[in-house]
């Protein structure tokens, strides 16, 4: 920053000025455009939160550039995948604190939690292209869709099923054919799936399509104990729900709106539904099965609509793990080095193709790198983290083309 004054003098000669005083043989009009394409090229690589908070304030030209649809879309393409972590702030109200977690650094295992700029909001449910689906923090039974950075949002009408959104499975998805965002909600499967198109007219209503099963006896789950949970979203195009079945999960293509059974892989033993979780990994659905205290297998679904082919991607084996102690651990070495009992870990999210984030019952997170078999513990500064949603920041509006 000290060199700024000198650079300012040098830059006057070399960087374009708006009056077109350019360099060498360049035309003044083409020079101005040329300059804008370079600013575009630089700004698209800046994280959207900074672009929005500071970039817009630099000058009118930058403010206008940043509002362009082509800029917003390109800027989104360059953002990194993060994990949105949310936990309730208290048991009495519907407010959640939400932070964004980056996984990076050497060995790709260092985690950094940062604030998302909003001190509290309702329970986050799902993220798609930077847009978040959440529970309304104050009015029970209402959902909202909001861009986390611009805070431009929309409150959805109440669901016809009367769901209070405390025990249901909802997600925000994107239909690439019609280029529109939809919220897909499931509360009571005999009632059906409820779908809301975000780009509809102001008085639009939820549409209802049939649930996945025809008769009550077809349900795989125990009626007394089951409630729907938020599905795993793969690229915002396909949703997969865990239905406590030993044989299949329910999948839906956001564009087609038809629910199908996706049969689980043939693993070496009988599947027990409480031993597996689903997570998104590198753009695919993964099935993470805790075989025992010392082994967890990870399977990837290659295509659920054309063949349902699963392949076993990795096997986490306790004795092969290289455990990395957290740097700021105050506990004695042998305690901090204790590897967790693998069956007590629940996979909550993937990061890229090779990293799995697992949560222990005691709320600690373990980051596991499949390529190098390295595991690292991450203790978060959050009271009771319960939502882990893959998220990529953007400035997109649900009407941006």
């Amino acid at each position: 920053m000290e060199a700024l004054q000198n650079d300012k003098v040098r830059n006057r000669k070399n960087i374009s000025r708006k009056d077109g005083e350019g360099r060498g043989a360049m035309e003044s009009t083409s020079f101005k455009d040329f300059h804008e394409s370079i600013i575009f090229g630089i700004l698209v690589k800046v994280p959207p939160s900074y672009v929005y908070k500071n970039g817009r304030l630099v000058c009118r030209a930058w403010r206008d550039l940043i509002s362009r649809d082509d800029f917003i879309v390109q800027n989104f393409m360059e953002t990194k995948a993060e994990l949105l972590v949310g936990g309730p702030t208290s048991r009495r109200n519907g407010f959640f604190e939400v932070k964004l977690m980056e996984v990076g650094g050497a060995l790709q295992l260092d985690c950094k939690l940062r604030d998302c700029g909003l001190c509290r909001m309702g329970r986050p449910r799902s993220s798609c292209n930077g847009l978040l689906l959440l529970n309304h923090p104050k009015k029970e039974g209402l959902l909202q869709v909001m861009n986390l950075i611009t805070t431009v949002g929309l409150t959805l009408p109440k669901c016809p099923s009367g769901c209070r959104h405390k025990a249901c499975g909802s997600a925000l998805g994107f239909d690439p054919n019609k280029k529109e965002y939809k919220v897909i909600h499931m509360y009571a499967d005999s009632f059906g799936f409820e779908i809301f198109n975000l780009a509809g007219p102001p008085d639009a209503a939820w549409r209802i399509i049939p649930g996945p099963w025809e008769g009550l006896q077809e349900r795989p789950y125990d009626f007394e104990r089951f409630s729907w949970s938020d599905p795993i979203s793969v690229n915002g195009r396909v949703l997969h729900w865990h239905v406590a079945s030993n044989e299949y999960i329910i999948s839906m293509d956001v564009s087609e709106e038809i629910s199908t059974k996706t049969y689980l892989p043939n693993i070496s033993e009988e599947i027990e539904s409480y031993k597996y979780t689903l997570a998104e990994l590198g753009g695919y659905l993964s099935f993470v099965y805790a075989l025992s205290d010392i082994q967890v297998d990870i399977w990837i679904l290659d295509d659920c609509f054309r063949g349902q082919i699963w392949s076993k991607k990795h096997s986490i084996q306790l004795d092969l793990i290289k455990y990395v102690t957290p740097e700021n651990s105050l506990l004695p070495a042998n305690h901090a080095n204790a590897l967790p009992n693998l069956s007590k870990l629940v996979a909550v999210a993937g990061r890229g193709c090779d990293i799995l984030i697992l949560k222990h019952e005691n709320s600690c997170l373990y980051i596991y790198d499949m390529k190098h078999r390295v595991m690292k513990k991450f203790k978060m500064n959050m009271k009771n983290p319960m939502c882990f949603i893959p998220h990529r920041s953007s400035l997109l509006h649900w009407r941006t083309s």
Binding site: M1, A3, L4, D7, K8, R10, N11, R12, N14, I15, R17, R23, G24, A25, M26, F34, S37, I38, I39, G41, I42, L43, V44, K45, V46, P47, Y50, N54, G55, R56, L57, V58, C59, R60, W62, R63, Q144, M146, T150, T151, V152, G153, L154, T155
Partner: protein, 145 residues
Amino acid sequence: MIVLNSSDGATFEVEESVAVQSQTIKHMIEDNCADTSIPLPNVNGVTLARVLEYIKKHAEAKDDEEGLKSFDAEFVKVDQASLFEIILAANYLDIKGLLDLTCQTVADQIKDLTVEEVRAIFNIMNDFTPEEEAKLRNDHAWAFE
């Protein structure tokens, strides 16, 4: 071998296979404008030398991902003015890898700066009225439709 002439009269020789990393030079060669030498009136000698250093390294060490990564990291450790010169040159010469690298470097620098500091670097004047500026700064309320 291709001969390149910078704006300030410096001459550089480079292998054609290396030079074609620049789409601009590639098209000039294809259009037969390159019989004796290629004039580059928009790039000065110092900058052209740096750009050639980049494309030479990327041609010879093509498959060494780790090596190129550390080369790139060192390559961008220059002062602001030189970095902007390289960006302009990479843009004019249409060398995608170099343009992406240098734009990313500037992007990483500005994301930690204040609005005033960004204006200083790009030599931009604040053309907002106080009302416009206030409106933008306060645009953080929950804007619900």
